[in-house]
Each structure stands twice: as C-alpha cells, then as structure tokens.
C-alpha cells in the first residue's frame, strides 16, 4: 500500500504540527534519486523552522547552483520544530534531507547558513539530530564536512569549534573549486585533515582548527595565526563581480504551506551606497553592484511563470538607490496587472514617484509610510551617518498625507554611540511633529480614516564587526530599559500623544546578540552549555531564556560585560580581524572618528571614501561620481 519513501512514519507525521514541513516533494524541488552521475551529496541547512528557512533567497540561489551541476545533489534541511525534535530524540530518528529523506550523516557536506546569532543553538540541534559530534575535531573520515556561510561567518569565532570550514563571502564563486578538490580527495580515500588543509588555501576558505588564538591576561587577543606556514594569515571575502551574469534560481522551490516570504523575490542589487555606520550589511557587501534592468524583467516574468506565485517583491538593502528602479517598477506594475499578480514594495524613500507607485499597488487606506530615521535628533543622525533629515521626513509625510495616507511607521535605535537624553526624547518629538504635520496639511473635512496614526518602534543598538561602530561599547540592559522608559514618558508628554504608539524590543535578547556578535572562540563552550540546558529556537522570543545564558557564562568563568559594554581601544586585536571583508580597518577607524566628531560622510554615488572595496574594480567604484560630474 505504501508506495513512497519518508523518513518519518505516518504515526509521527500525524502527531506533529504541520507535517508538510518534513515531506519534501514541493514543486521545483530537485530529486536526483538513482542518478548515477551524483558524486557529492550536499545538505543545505537553515537552522530555523521550515517557514523561515524556505523564505531565504540565498539558499535558493545556492540550491539552484549546486543542483545545476550534474555530479552534485543538494537537498534542504530545516530545524525540526520542538514537537518533532522531542520525537526524533526519543525514537532515535536521524535527521534527513527533505528530497531523498536519507539521513544526512551519510552525506558529503553539511552546509549551514548563518543568518543571525540567535540561531546558534539550533546549529547544535542540527548536528546532534544528524548524529554527528558537535566539535569538528571529533569527526571521522566517514562523516560529512560541516561548512558555514552567510553574514554571521564574518565573525565565525564563537561557533568556530563546531565547523570544519567556513566559506567567507558570496557563495557563487568558489564552490566548484572546493567540490572538485573534495572529489579528488574522496577518490583516493578521504583523509579529513589533508583535504581541509588543501581547502584552506582556496580563497575565502577558513578552517578554524588550523588557526590558533593566544590571549592576554585581560582576556583580549594577543595573537591569532595559522598553525601551518602555507596557510594565509588573512582570509579575504569572496565576491561576485558580474551580478547580471551569474546563478539565479529561475525555478525556486514552491512550498506547500504558507511561508514567511511566499512570493517571487527579485534581488535587484547587492550592497549599499549609504554607509550608515551601525549597519554591517552596508559594509560587508561593498561595493554596490546593480543588476541589469532587462535581466531583472526577464527573471521576473520567468520566475512568476515557473512558480505560479501571486506576488513578487524586490530585494536589496536600499531599493531607492537602484538606478533603473522607475523603469523596473512601472514594467512590473503593467505586467502584473495583466496577470492579477500583487507587487509587494520594498520600503522606498518617500517622494512623488514612490507615492505614485504605492497608490497603484496598495490600498492607501490600509498601507502605511515607513521611515527609518534610526535616531531622534539630527545630531545623532549625523553621528550614525543616516542621511535622512527632519525636513525630508516632514516633507515626505506632508506629501503622503495630502495623497490620502494616514499611517506612519517609524524605526529607531536606542543606545547609539554618544546618545544623550535629548536625542532619546527626540524620538517622541519627531513623532509629534509628524502628527502635527498631518493636522496642518489635511483639512478637517478630509480626515476620513480616523485621523493620523503613528507607530514608533525602537530596537537596541548592537555594535557589529566590520562597522565603524565595532569599537563602541554597548549599553547595559538596565540602560536600555531606562531609555525605552524615557521615550515612553516623552511620548506621553506630546500634544499629539494619543496619535502615537510606541513599541520597543526586548533588551535581554539584544544583550545576547551583542555577546555573540563580537564574541571570541571561548564562547563555543557557552553556546554548548546553553544548548544542553535546553535552549532552541531562540530567535522566537517565547523560546528565549536570558537566564540560561547568564548561568552558562558564569559556569565558564566569562563575563557578559567583557563582550558587550566594555570600551575597546583602537589597538585591540578583534577576533574577526584576520578576515578581510573588502573595507580596510583604516577606513573604519576614519569613519569612527568622523562619527565622534558628529560629521556626516557622503555616499558612494556622491564621492568615494576610499574604503578599500575599489580593489574589486566593479560596481559603484568604477562609476563616475556625482561630485566629479558636477565639476
């Protein structure tokens, strides 16, 4: 009667919530069962639940690229949700790939994508459920090579002990080389260390166990160096030079169940010209590389046809800066209208163009304007280099209010370097001014939708590696909470306080993100302990337990303050200093000093700041600058 192959029995699947998470077989998923050309089995793992992992474009790109090679079969793996986790442990069911349903412990590679720090305990879940040792040094020749990649690999040290290899940078460039090397080693019988040692010489590859850290008495790093002469002292990120001419999934996998990003995603550019000083992505993906608009149009149409999705969205760090945005958006509006497809807009700079587009694709009554001033005062916005002035915000709001909009969302950060009480209260002030603008520009008789509604949200600032703020101390948990209270009180004092709603993120989880973001290798033990205490799915606030982290730190004799609130000197060697993300430390120091002097810097289209990324010779670095053109 049973004519199919599943790793989980009917009994198990009927017991768990959303069994469709675990059965594979989705439209456009790739099944190479029985294909004799397959020489490498690759498990692409996203350490979070299916609905989150399936929404990630990067994985789809790599899945498509790897399966495009006839000798590779790449399958997907997501974290089994807590209900299945319990059953798998009890019944000793090994973790499996969705496509083949085979145990991944027999695969050649386990690729784990590192998108946010709070998934670190889920990495250990994947390894343990797979039946593999948590620590790389304990793995044997038969076990898969565990490779990490993604934004958090720019400071891989806190999880370094769990990985055999990290791939630093964009995944499109070096996998072929790595897999060929692996094949050659496998043919003569795999010696793990011999393979890893050679792999470590491929650009972008970091094999943590071949690098040693020495510490000073104060706990900071004294030295960091390879144990073998031939290995590079610095590892440079990998980057795609021609983004219009590379891998892109024309047939992304279409999930059966509703996932977070249930639509076609068009990545129009990589990188960002803006250089906000708190933003890590803005530095990591330099220089900006735009994709050709004609290519984007073709991709959009083809992907819609191949998936049947009813929605498309654009993805990039700052879509308003894409040169051909108008052309692309008007093209999509026209084509999507014919096909009854929705367009989900990225957040755009508010101007006549974006308001026109918004009015065409959204219901004005239901949609809202979004601004991310990030700081409440102009002074602090200069410090963080957020080139968004109060005037721009108020003018944009006025324009939108006159066009019929009445909802505004504002995003801020608390705890930024140099922040004062005045900056903090500025959040309430700015919110109030926007509300006042509404009453100014919209006459009484036209105030239909129950007047203006402003939602201001704040998150807590976490200093990240490879940003000019990597030297900045982080606030304490108590400071964060006090600051949020200050905003809350200040909002209540405003004339338009009834029209303003204020939300803030939890401080606890920010502290731990701060710990892991700038952490060192000593934290592997802490992460393991937290995991052993039962932590999982910590990016879900209901599953995050602050006290487990404090306990584990204490047991390991480490201090949270050392990693978060401590003042760092310009001379300190950071755990991630051996990586080269394209921008130089000298540039970051310059920007840090500019910040402390409350000085803005121009963006890459206006003027080159000499960040170091020009060495790639592509993208915005080779375009003529506005400042020059004006001369």
């Amino acid at each position: 009667m049973k004519e199919y192959k599943l790793a989980l029995s009917d009994e198990v699947l009927m017991q768990v919530e959303k069994p469709a998470r675990y059965i594979g077989n989705e439209v456009n998923s790739v099944n190479k069962a029985g294909d004799e050309r397959v020489a490498i089995r690759f498990a692409m793992c996203f350490p979070d639940v299916y609905e989150i992992g399936m929404s990630h474009l990067g994985i789809q790109i790599l899945y498509d690229m790897l399966n495009g090679w006839e000798d590779v079969w790449c399958e997907r793996v997501y974290s089994p949700w807590l209900d299945l986790d319990r059953i798998m442990r009890k019944e000793h069911i090994p973790l499996f790939g969705l496509e083949s349903q085979d145990p991944i412990k027999d695969f050649d590679f386990l690729g784990i994508t590192l998108q946010y720090e709070m998934c670190y305990t889920n990495i250990l879940q994947l390894l343990e459920l797979a039946g593999l040792p948590l620590y790389a040094t304990e793995r044997t020749a038969e076990q898969p090579i565990v490779i990490g990649g993604g934004p958090c690999s720019y400071n891989p040290e806190p999880i370094a002990d769990f990985f055999d290899l990290f791939y630093i940078g964009e995944g499109e460039t070096r996998y072929r080389e790595l897999l060929d090397l692996y094949k050659a080693h496998k043919e003569k019988g795999l010696d793990r260390d011999a393979f890893l040692r050679e792999a470590a010489s491929i650009p972008g590859m970091y094999v943590p166990k071949f690098y040693r850290t020495e510490y000073k008495d104060d706990g900071t790093i004294a030295s960091f160096s390879p144990v073998y002469e031939e290995l590079p002292k610095t590892i440079s990120k990998e980057m795609v030079k021609d983004v219009s001419n590379t891998y892109y999934p024309m047939k992304p996998v279409v999930p059966f169940i509703k996932v977070t990003q249930d639509r076609v995603v068009l990545e129009i550019q990589r990188g960002c010209i803006r250089g906000c000083r708190f933003c890590q992505a803005g530095q990591l993906y330099r220089p900006v590389r735009e994709r050709d608009v004609e290519v984007m149009k073709r991709y959009a149409m083809e992907m819609l046809k191949n998936t049947g999705h009813e929605e498309i969205s654009l993805s990039s760090l700052s879509s308003s800066d894409y040169t051909d945005l108008k052309e692309l958006v008007y093209f999509l509006i026209e084509e999507c209208k014919k096909r009854s497809i929705n367009i989900s807009l990225p957040s755009l700079r508010i101007d006549a163009f974006s308001l026109d587009v918004m009015s065409k694709v959204q219901d004005i009554k239901k949609s809202s304007l979004t601004f991310a001033p990030e700081a409440g005062s102009q002074r602090l916005r200069d410090v963080i280099n957020k080139g968004l002035s109060e005037e721009t915000i108020l003018k944009g709001s006025a324009l939108a209010f006159q066009g019929g909009w009445s909802r505004v969302k504002l995003y801020f950060m608390l705890g930024l370097p140099t922040e004062t009480e005045e900056d903090i209260r500025g959040i309430a002030d700015l919110s109030n001014k926007i509300a006042a603008t509404y009453f100014e520009v919209v006459p009484k008789e036209e105030r239909k939708n129950g007047s203006v509604q402003i939602v201001a949200s704040s998150s807590f600032f976490i200093p990240k590696p490879f940003t000019p703020f990597q030297w900045s101390p982080m606030n304490t948990r108590e400071e964060f909470i006090d600051k949020a209270q200050t905003v809350k009180k200040a909002v209540r004092e405003q004339i338009n306080q009834k029209r303003i709603k204020y939300n803030w993120h939890e401080a606890d989880v920010s502290m731990i993100e701060g710990l892991l973001a700038r952490g060192d290798r000593k934290l592997s033990k802490v992460i393991e302990k937290v995991y052993r205490k039962g932590a999982l799915f910590e990016s879900w606030s209901e599953h995050f337990h602050y006290d487990l982290w404090l306990e584990a730190l204490k047991e390991c004799g480490l201090s949270l303050d050392f990693y978060t609130t401590r003042e760092r000197s310009l001379e300190e060697i950071f755990p991630w200093d051996f990586l080269d993300c394209g921008v130089t430390k000298a540039f970051l120091i310059r920007e840090w000093k500019q910040a402390l002097e409350e000085k803005e810097s121009p963006n890459c289209k206006q003027k080159c700041l000499g960040c170091g990324a020009a060495r790639y010779g592509v993208g915005v670095c080779v375009e003529e600058k506005a400042a020059k053109a004006a001369e």
């Binding site: 009917d10 009927m14 059965i23 077989n25 439209v27 169940i257 509703k258 049947g308 999705h309 009813e310």
Partner: protein, 233 residues
C-alpha cells in the same frame, strides 16, 4: 464558463491539508497558463471552489473543484496543461464544463465512497465480514458525536448507503452532504465499539474513492460522480 476538475491525491501529499491544497491549485493554475477568471479589487483572487475538504492523512481518487475560465482550448488541453504542472501524487483525472443550472461543487456533494485498509503492522478488525453484517442488521446505529459545545446523539443508519467487507478491506458509501456528513472515522469508531474494541485512527489508511451528487427525478434519487453532470468541451 464554469469548469469542474477531478483529481486524485496519493502518497506523501496526503499530509498536505485542505487549505494548502487550495493554495497549491491556485499556483498550479497560474503555472498551467489556464485563463482563469479573477475577482476584482486590490488583491484579486481566482474564482475557484472546492467540493468536500479531505482530512490530513487521507488519500483520494475523487476530489473536485470548480473554476471559472474566460477562454479555453478544450478540456483535453486543459487536462494535459494541468498534469504537466502537478507534483507527484496529485493527478488531474477529468475536466468537464458545467451546465448553467449546476450547483457549485460544495453544495452539490451528496455522498462519498471510502475504502479502508489496515496499515502494515496493524491487525484488521477480527471477523470483519461477520461483524459488519451484524453491525448493519440492527434497526438503528446510535452514535454520540462530539461537537465543539456539546454531545449529539444520532443514528448513523439512514446515512449509510452501502457497507461491505472484503479481504480485510472495508468499503462504504455514506452521506457527505453539508447537513448529514458522516465522517469515516465516526463510522469506524461505531463499528469498533460494536465489536467491543477501541478504534485507533493510525491503524487505517482511508481513501476517498469518489464524491457523488444526487440526481433527483421525481421520487427517484440517483447518486452520480460529481463530474457526471458536466460534459467534455
């Protein structure tokens, strides 16, 4: 034009719930290029309705949905176009045009036929044939149905049109109308209770064989498959 589509559901897709099957077909229809009609408004949706929801874990040889199309290239082309974009386990079996007077798929459902097989590792009900005979020989088949708020006592007998046992399999044809729907598990629970045993839903594989509508001709009521009221085009 209104079109009725019949499909089957087997294998791993039996774990896809009803709402997700609806979403699956919305996307499949876009992929197939069928010129389906949309509602108007800011987020237009396809004009589509399903007959009877199928529980998670059930297989089927007789699922139905109705769609409205603006134009077409004949039923054969539509059937081929759909099957080209199906996943393994879902197959489109027939495509017919509905006459104007035909009710929509959901309202048309009168009955459904189910096969019950015991899964590997589970024992079928002992003395199946005899038990079934005795079960049916009673004047009433009382059951207690748990609803959200209360318990409801009812008699299953009038809703059971057919019940046969054969080689460790059960087949039954029961009322599936919105007012008198008999869930297969309700019937199985009653049968087990009658045999003095407890029913384990995990022990059986339920397959819906067909979904029927009733044709009324004076006093006579005949059950025909839902696609029998339409015609190829």
């Amino acid at each position: 034009m209104r079109v009725r589509i019949k499909f089957s559901k087997h294998g791993v897709v039996k774990f896809i719930g009803h709402l997700d099957i609806m979403r699956y077909f919305q996307k499949a229809i876009r992929r197939s290029g069928i010129d389906i009609a949309y509602s108007s408004g800011f987020s237009p949706h396809q004009i589509m309705s399903f007959a009877a929801p199928l529980g998670v874990g059930y297989c089927s040889n007789g699922e139905y949905m109705d769609i409205e199309v603006n134009s077409h290239q004949g039923s054969d082309q539509m059937l081929t176009a759909l099957n080209e974009v199906m996943v393994e386990g879902i197959e489109v079996l027939s495509v017919v045009a509905l006459p104007d007077h035909a009710g929509n798929a959901m309202a048309s459902v009168a009955a459904a036929g189910y096969t019950i097989e015991w899964k590997e590792g589970y024992e079928p009900l002992a003395d199946l044939e005899k038990t079934v005979e005795a079960f049916l020989n009673r004047d009433t088949i009382p059951v207690v149905k748990q609803t959200k708020k209360s318990e409801l006592s009812l008699d299953l007998k009038p809703g059971i049109y057919e019940l046969t046992a054969k080689e460790n399999c059960l087949y039954f044809l029961v009322d599936a109308s919105s007012s008198g729907n008999i869930k297969p598990t309700l019937l199985l629970e009653a049968l087990y209770r009658f045999a003095g045993q407890e029913f384990d839903p995990l022990a059986v594989q339920i397959t819906r064989e067909e979904t029927y509508t009733a044709l009324i001709d004076g006093e006579r009521r005949t059950l025909v498959p839902l696609d029998a009221v339409g015609e190829k085009f």
